[in-house]
């Protein structure tokens, strides 16, 4: 087990991404943050707080559960229980920044975009992730990345956040090496 990001690394990554988001669009009034449950929503809250502290703007903040939009329902081992989605603002003409903890195959992001489109027509959708671990199966890329980590398919990238897990850390657990 390797630590990819320590607590300090996580803090810095979020601070950097918060700046990057605002730099991209001089006028942040059209930006809204939407975190993908679970943990992406926690990260989105932190970005929201950082941007508020830095710029003094209170960006609209939403949370999205993509379970109802997944394409792999029959392959999951257990019945996926859906959490609520809260998007209390109009997405029309907004720049939505999707926030997730790990970008992997890209299917979660595809489902998230399908979900957002059912809420209206955003001007643009961008993606911010804490870790990009490669192995994309769809043509999706992140606009803001905390850390790029090369991994093998069988590896497990575990994100721990204080609000959920009691500490900030991102670990890599290597796949079992065949004998």
């Amino acid at each position: 087990m390797t630590t990819l990001l320590s607590a300090d690394d996580v803090r810095r990554a979020i601070a950097r991404i918060a700046h990057e988001i605002v730099e991209r669009d001089r006028d942040p009034s059209r930006i809204a943050l939407v975190g993908i449950r679970s943990r992406g929503d926690v990260l989105a809250q932190r970005l929201h707080a950082a941007i508020q502290a830095n710029e003094g703007v209170d960006l609209p903040l939403g949370a999205l559960d993509i379970t109802l939009y997944r394409d792999d329902l029959t392959r999951i081992g257990h019945a996926p229980v859906v959490r609520t989605t809260e998007i209390a603002f109009s997405v029309d003409d907004r720049i939505l920044v999707l926030v997730d903890d790990v970008l992997f195959t890209g299917r979660t992001i595809r489902a998230a975009m399908d979900a957002l489109v059912d809420y209206g027509r955003p001007r643009a959708i961008r993606l911010a992730v804490l870790v990009d671990r490669g192995h994309r199966e769809l043509p999706i890329r992140a606009d803001h990345v905390g850390k790029n980590v090369p991994t093998q398919l069988g590896d497990d990238v575990r994100v721990h956040l204080v609000e959920v897990d009691g500490r900030d850390e991102v670990e890599l657990v290597r796949a079992a090496v065949p004998a």
Partner: protein, 319 residues
């Protein structure tokens, strides 16, 4: 509850459900409701059941429940096949056994059915490969109604523990009453049944009541201080079959009038599974009055049915 797996293959009746299972459906209903009602959504659907087929087999006339299930299935992007009585072979006297073969051949993943015979849903579930949702079998059960009534009451009253809910009317012939008992009591509510003695099962009148349920023949006494009332539809044939002297007497003694509603707790809501006989079991002004949650029951009904369809379709037991 989040994180627990759904394990039931069919939804036939809630009499043997644990509290956890009931809560699971109610939680998922909370998630489904915004899909239907969130003003920020422009598309009131999700693709969750895309590519799946839901067959609606309604051998007993019903518009509201069938439409409700149809809306629920479509909100999940499922394909819907309607097999209804009008002109169907069931109406022409085809036996349920033969109908089962047709239904099996249609091959839908989920079969929603309503039939006049108690036990019909069990009969079909034992003989088809689809998952079966009982939308009403004779006098026996209407599980999604019980769940939507529980959802509606909980949304309005909060925690149902200790709340006293009156079920008023023809209990003997009511699958709604039975299903309401089976969802509300596990959530902590106490039920008072009220209605003419001829329209309540003998066993329940004479003390062999299910747990958490009492019987009070006098409607005024039953409603005094109650937290909510569910009024049941009275079918006209009850008077014809000698169980009631007249509909007028029924309306006087057990009808849910303004005066009776005022006996309940301040703000106690009024529910009715529909369709209503205004002027008989419920006064028109009560049905459309400020305490009535009847319209909310309709919206909640679609959301509850979406939750049930989702749990059955996405569970590995069905897949």
């Amino acid at each position: 509850m989040i994180g627990q797996a759904w394990t039931r293959r069919h939804v036939l009746a809630t009499d043997d459900w644990s509290r956890a299972e009931i809560e699971m459906v109610l939680e998922q209903t909370d998630v489904m409701l915004p899909v239907l009602t969130d003003p920020n959504r422009t598309v009131r659907r999700t693709p969750a059941l895309r590519g799946r087929t839901v067959v609606l087999f309604f051998a007993e006339a019903s518009t509201r429940t069938r439409v409700s299930f149809e809306l629920a299935a479509k909100a999940l992007s499922a394909d819907v096949v309607n097999v209804t009585t009008a002109g169907s072979s069931v109406e022409k006297g085809e036996s349920l056994f033969d109908t089962v073969r047709t239904l099996e051949a249609l091959g839908g993943e989920i079969l929603v059915m309503r039939h006049a015979a108690s036990g019909a849903a069990q009969f079909v579930a034992d003989r088809v490969t689809s998952a079966v949702i009982n939308a009403g079998d004779g006098w026996h059960a209407h599980p999604t109604q019980g769940l939507l009534d529980a959802f509606t009451l909980r949304s309005q009253l909060g925690d149902l523990a200790g709340k006293r809910i009156v079920i008023l009317g023809d209990v003997l012939h009511s699958r709604v009453a039975r299903s309401d008992i089976h969802t509300l009591v596990p959530l902590g509510a106490r039920i008072t049944l009220s209605g003419p003695p001829t329209l309540v099962p003998v066993a329940w009148r004479c003390g062999q009541l299910p747990e958490g349920v009492v019987y009070e023949p006098d409607a005024d006494r039953a409603l005094a201080g109650a937290d909510a009332v569910i009024a049941l539809r009275l079918q006209r044939e009850r008077q014809e079959s000698g169980l009631l002297p007249s509909l007028r007497e029924y309306a006087r003694a057990w009808g849910l009038s303004e005066e009776r509603v005022a006996l309940m707790r301040q703000g106690a809501p009024v529910l009715h599974p529909g369709p209503m006989n205004e002027g008989i079991e419920i006064a028109a002004s009560v049905a459309h009055g400020s305490r009535s949650l009847i319209e909310r029951q309709v919206t909640n009904g679609v959301a509850v049915r979406m939750a049930v369809l989702w749990l059955l379709a996405s569970s590995p037991v069905t897949a």
